[in-house]
């Protein structure tokens, strides 16, 4: 599946519009997006094969040494001078606001022309084959246990094509990703929902993992029907990769977004160079830091992907920035300018955020917990970077008491607890860092 022919056909239009608007603004960029998503799903009684929520359009970004101006539109064909005039009129401000604009530093526009491609295996699968996989998995889930009231399998491949053009820069990127989900509604002592999600840029891997996930998801559902709630309290917890990733995301992903530094909305701004975590904690963010769902080649500001070390041996080292926040702070952008779509503003947002592996073994962690929980799978979280608190939700967990019986992993303990287990971390800062020195990381 090649780079979008539609965007390729608009390359010259982008350059011409940059030139037309360049008469009015020292910095002009255009981002063109063509994201094609497909949804294939089946449950016990219905199915669907259709385009998912993709996007196709352009966003123009301009700076005149003061505020940034953006205009989102569907098409950039036609008379560029006329279009430039339309854009200038659309982003005009009321005169009363003219005098209260920011004054950022210069915007970089280093020359570069490059086309980035990362192949997928999506073209090797027809709609028929993928729907067949979904139906087969739904049938298998349904056959496994009569208490499966409904089973759902969803495959969602999407292919991204983006073009970025400035006076000195022409970049294109083309890559794909896919998500796969198994969900069962299961009746027993009570109605429960159990799910399993896989992601990759190889559908072959996702299909294989979903097939292997049939028994575990039924097993989880069965256990959840007789899980009991956690008694509210303060406990030691061990978190699986999902919850650990969520903590990284909420605490030192959102917590170090540098557009929040500009607004004085992040305590992290005042903690650079200080201990904010256990000395064994090393945390990264970056589209180039690892290969995962947020691995792109350049961000929506045309900045190449980075590997940013946020925390090094427990010390806060760096934040994450988009073009606008970096220009205001006088720092180099870190490749974290991200838009929901071409219709939305770019913000400094996380990409792949993760901890480096540690040296502790899971069984040692379990042995160290006298009375606590091992928590699995999140579905929700919320950050509060100013006040340095986070809320994380775990869907289920295992509880254990060392004197009684250790935590068991993987799940299977009849004392499975039902969620959502709320984890609340309050006030973890350099002055309370000793609380986090007990954090351990799995290999």
């Amino acid at each position: 599946m090649p780079f979008s022919a539609y965007l390729e056909s608009k390359r010259a239009d982008c350059a011409a519009l940059v030139q037309a608007l360049g008469q009015h603004f020292p910095y002009v960029s255009i981002l063109g997006t063509d994201v094609r998503a497909t949804t294939i799903r089946a449950d016990k009684r219905t199915s669907a094969v259709q385009e998912g929520s993709g996007e196709c359009g352009f966003v123009v970004k301009m700076n005149d040494g003061r505020a940034f101006f953006e205009y989102s539109l569907d098409d950039i064909s036609g008379d560029k001078q006329a279009l430039a005039k339309t854009i200038l009129e659309a982003v005009k401000t009321d005169p009363a606001l003219e005098s209260s604009m920011i004054a950022p530093g210069p915007i970089g526009d280093d020359p570069m022309e490059k086309d980035f491609v990362r192949e997928t295996d999506f073209a090797g699968y027809s709609d028929e084959e993928l729907l067949g996989v979904c139906k087969e998995l739904v049938e298998e889930l349904s056959r496994k246990d009569e208490r499966v009231l409904n089973a759902l399998c969803i495959l969602q491949p999407f292919v991204v094509s983006k073009i970025f053009v400035t006076k000195n820069r022409q970049l294109t990127q083309h890559y794909g990703w896919a998500n796969g989900h198994l969900i069962v509604m299961y009746g027993g002592e009570k109605l429960v929902q159990a799910r399993r999600t896989e992601g990759s840029d190889k559908l072959s891997e996702i299909i294989e993992k979903l097939k292997a996930g049939v028994d575990p998801v039924i097993d989880l559902a069965e256990h959840l029907t007789h899980a009991t709630p956690i008694e509210p309290g303060v406990y030691d917890v061990i978190t699986d990769a999902s919850i650990t990733g969520l903590i990284a995301h909420e605490a030192f992903g959102h917590g170090v977004e540098m557009d929040q530094f500009v607004k004085d909305r992040a305590m992290a701004k005042h903690c650079m160079g200080q201990y904010v975590a256990s000395p064994i904690a090393n945390m990264h963010d970056g589209a180039a830091a690892t290969h995962s769902v947020a691995s792109y080649f350049f961000d929506d500001d045309g900045v190449l992907a980075h590997d940013t070390q946020i925390i090094q041996n427990g010390i806060l080292r760096s934040g994450l920035s988009d073009l606008a926040s970096a220009a205001q702070l006088g720092t180099a952008p870190t490749g974290n300018g991200r838009r929901d779509s071409y219709k939305r503003k770019a913000y400094a947002r996380m990409t792949n955020t993760f901890f480096e592996p540690g040296t502790d073994k899971l069984e040692d962690m379990i042995a160290s917990v006298r009375h606590g929980y091992m928590l699995f799978e999140t579905n929700n979280g919320m950050e509060d970077p100013k006040n340095w608190q986070i809320q994380c939700t775990a869907e289920y967990g295992n509880r254990g008491r060392q004197a009684d019986r250790p935590l068991r992993v993987p799940r299977g303990d009849e004392r499975l607890c039902a969620g959502p287990a709320q984890i609340h971390l309050h006030g973890f800062g350099p002055w309370q860092g000793d609380r986090l020195r007990h954090v351990r990381q799995g290999v």
């Binding site: 205009y71 539109l73 569907d74 009231l149």
Partner: protein, 425 residues
């Protein structure tokens, strides 16, 4: 638009089709403190086409998007591809809504206002609340939208609706010599009343000042909790979701018609109605994505589930004679207790949560509390750094609803909900 319609009608394999469009014009202002950082404007048109193909006693469907820049040849290819995909799908048959024409405008006073002037006036109304020493608005984002939604189908539906709406996201902040704290404000309206904006932001400014002096109360404690409209709305949304035709058809509903959600309860009985139009709500609509005319539907009456609601297709699957259409606005009847009477015994009034967590399957309600007001029986003081956690069934059984009502987002109903003894850590 007419070209797509013609292309669809020319394809003999198509049994039915639906064409949905959403045209959006926006003007957006982004402030860092009081300085303007970004000015945005958008002018976009989303077109979504669904083709329906009846085959082998079943109905298949497939949808795709059309960009305004797309050539007719490309649209034709997409139609052919969608027909092929629809033939892969064998769903139980259903019909599309028929014969209806409408051109509607939701009530607003912003229809003829210039967006740039209005944006400036809204900004002035927001910053007019920033008057106190130590207080500031560290960020403010103002979004002005004019949305035009249109639905056509092969059965004679042609309906459109224009909505003017504004969303303000503001970050009231208070700083003293020891700390700096903030709260999050999300304020939406369809009628521009600058004094209301200033009053709403001022209310939040007062609360953020309270957050500076908020303390963690002695915990654990068990107390009555008062929820405000934002959180009541989240709870009601979750209950309503569980009673949607699609949820019921997919067996994801923990409640069914006839269930008493407040069995053996001693609180106010809940009467919940899904509504097409709630005055002042940007979620109001006259028709849904299929073009179905929306019909107000009482879901819960006196605590007992009476009806489901939702899109025509799943309504037909459930053998509902006249499906209600899928709607967003929820209306809860008020109770008999005045707000002041709710607050005259020990209670915790939640002013700001990280997000109310409601889990129907695990009978849970809870969340992290960023700011609340705790009345200990003698005095009221602001508290922070706590978490509440309880059983949803207990909350529903014993809940009391205020006699005073309000509109917030898609919610219309009591301004306060009191839930009985709940654990706070």
């Amino acid at each position: 638009m007419m070209n797509i319609q013609t292309l669809l009608e020319n394809n003999r394999e198509i049994s039915d089709w639906r064409l949905s469009q959403e045209a959006t014009q926006s003007y957006e202002l982004f402030f860092v403190h009081r300085q303007l950082e970004t000015v945005r404007a958008t002018d976009t048109l989303d077109t979504r086409v669904t083709v329906y193909v009846d085959h082998d006693g079943a109905r298949g469907d497939s949808s795709f998007s059309v960009s305004p820049a797309m050539a007719e040849r490309d649209v034709e290819e997409k139609i052919v591809s969608a027909v092929r995909r629809a033939r892969l799908v064998s769903n139980p048959p259903y019909t599309l809504p028929e014969s209806g024409a409408l051109e509607a405008q939701l009530p607003t006073n912003m229809k003829d206002m210039d967006m740039k002037t209005l944006g400036r006036q809204i900004a002035e109304a927001v910053f007019a609340a920033d008057t106190e020493e130590g207080a500031s608005i560290n960020a403010c984002e103002i979004f002005l939208y004019r949305d035009t939604a249109r639905v056509l189908n092969s059965r004679g539906i042609d309906k459109s609706q224009v909505t003017h709406r504004v969303m303000i996201e503001a970050i009231p902040t208070f700083t003293d010599d020891k700390q700096s704290v903030e709260l999050y404000e999300d304020y939406r309206f369809t009628v521009f009343e600058p004094e209301k904006i200033t009053a709403e932001i001022a209310r939040k400014m007062a609360e953020v000042r309270d957050r500076v002096r908020a303390v963690k109360p002695k915990t654990p404690l068990k107390t009555r909790v008062l929820l405000r409209p934002h959180e009541i709305s989240e709870l009601i949304d979750t209950l309503a979701w569980s009673l949607n035709y699609a949820t019921v058809y997919s067996h994801a509903n923990p409640f069914k018609i006839g269930d008493d959600l407040q069995k053996d309860g001693n609180g106010d009985k809940m009467t919940l109605t899904m509504k097409a139009v709630v005055e002042g709500s940007e979620q109001s609509a006259f028709f849904d994505g299929d073009g179905t005319a929306l019909k107000n539907t009482c879901l819960v009456d006196g605590g007992v589930v009476k009806n489901y609601y939702g899109a025509s297709r799943f309504g037909q699957y459930l053998k509902v004679e006249q499906p209600s259409g899928d709607m967003n606005c929820a209306s809860l009847l008020p109770g008999t207790l005045a707000q002041k009477d709710m607050k005259n015994a020990p209670c915790l009034e939640c002013a700001s949560l990280s997000g109310l967590q409601v889990d129907l399957y695990n009978d849970y309600i809870g969340g992290e509390i960023r700011l609340a007001y705790y009345f200990d029986g003698e005095k009221t003081y602001p508290v922070t750094g706590i978490t509440m956690s309880g059983k949803l069934s207990d909350a529903l059984r014993g809940m009391r609803l205020s006699s005073e009502t309000t509109v917030q987002g898609a919610y219309e109903g009591p301004a306060l909900m009191m839930i009985p003894e709940i654990n706070v850590l």
